[in-house]
Amino acid sequence: MVVAYTLMAPALLLVLGVLAYPIGWEVWVSFTGLSSHGGTRGFVGLANYRGMLAEAFFWKAMGTTVMYFAVTTVAKLLLGLGMALLLVRPSRLRPLVFLAVFLPWAYPGGVTVIAWYWMLNPPLITSYSLAAGTLKYAVDGILGAGAYAFVSVALFNVWRGGSFTAVFLLAGLNAIPVELFEYAALDTRNSWQRLRHVTLPLLRPFLALAVFLSFTTAFGDLANVWMLTGGRIIFPVVGTYAYWLGIRDGELAQAAAWSLSLVPLLALALVVLFRWFDAPEERTS
């Protein structure tokens, strides 16, 4: 057992070394009045949380955040599943199309997001600025000011994440023995039924993991564009508003409370994931 713990030590040291203090700091600060304009540094209990929950703006931001996660995740899952189902069928085009589908994810996201942002929000002088501008005002007109920048992040996230999901689910489909599909073909009437009663249940662990991974990247992309544009995304989202409170307004304690308000959501996602993915029958072995 000593061997086992020794082997685990580097990973634990790395994770705890880098993350334990920041998480502790964030939690502690959310219970204080820390602010760059000389607030009380002492313990204030749940005041920051009470203030946050009483704000109508918080609930609006929370609504947008949940919508953003839900819409991008569903889109990535549907697109990914569709692409994976197309790619699993043999065809002469398959190797080439597989590489094409892999490409959005292979393109390093941290730099692609820069190109993507400038493509959707071009400077005034390019040949398609007028078209992009028209689109921007149309989207903002329907969804409210600042919506276009937000939609462009969501599109980027779906494009890149959908590619990852497709390849991930393809790996899942490859794991299903061909004989099972043959049995299924005898027992079911059409391909739609086969998908619902055979393919999807067998893919469940892969789907659960794909949803979870999609969750976590959705936030990273948002933060990237927020940084890139100097906070020009003015659509209220919990994460970016927390930065704004912390960096622009210096209200570090309130910012910490805002960031931590996402914890219940993430914890729920983890619980669901472990139930679906970390199946109990493994326990016996």
Partner: protein, 286 residues
Amino acid sequence: MSPGRGRWRHRVLLALIAMYSVFPIYFITVQSLKTPEEDVFGNPLWIADPTFENYTELFESGEARVRGFAILPRVPFVLWLANSAVVLAASVALTLACAVLAAYALGRLQPPGWRWWRRGLFATYAIPHTILFIPIYQVLLSLGLDDSPGALVLVYSTMALPFCLWLLSAYYHHLPREIEESALVEGASRLTAFVRIMLPMSRNVLVAAGLFTLGTVGQDFMLASIFLLDRNKQTVAAGLGVMDVSLEELVAVAGVNLAAIPVVILCALFARDYVRGLTAAMVEGA
């Protein structure tokens, strides 16, 4: 429905998803090959007169150049490329090393409570690093890693580690015990058995974990631009992100493409092993 019609429908759909996936890259590539004149007056989807000047511009030395009435600052792109390569390679290496050791311990040696150790470590994947950058910066300062590529390596390595650990430990867990035990019976030590047999067998899973790490840490732009302030120490993502893009958007976009080429080649070479590795890790006895 005849089988022929089904096959054609399948082909058309395949072509559509390929076009959808490649279109944004096609679009930025078209822009990056344009002259400034064509950027303004040309067709957004086509180039009449392709030029590599936006690409070669990235490799020119000197502080600035003059174009028309504008003075455009130059960027140390070659340095950025080298910095990115070092940071990414070191992050992938550190992630994989830590993940393999811990995964073997959790998947094979199974100390008491290993499931909870694994779940706990995996849960750290849900932590959005970008939101914690203030206290993370404090940790890096206390380690003396301010403005150093080591800071990024350390933080990046915690980003993909949870998933890699999960993947590898699931694989070692599923691998039939007899394989390792037969080696032990023949007198090999646990270490030799691991290095000679288990590690080569998990090659595809390692590839999967490695590419996943590359994709995950390659996604970051924010942490790189916060932790590395010195222009010459920045990575491509951080550097291009703070370029004065309003005048230089074509050069920035060309830089994006150039930085992507090596990563794309690497991914294309290992794409099949990546899929096989994911399958192998998730399926019993594969």
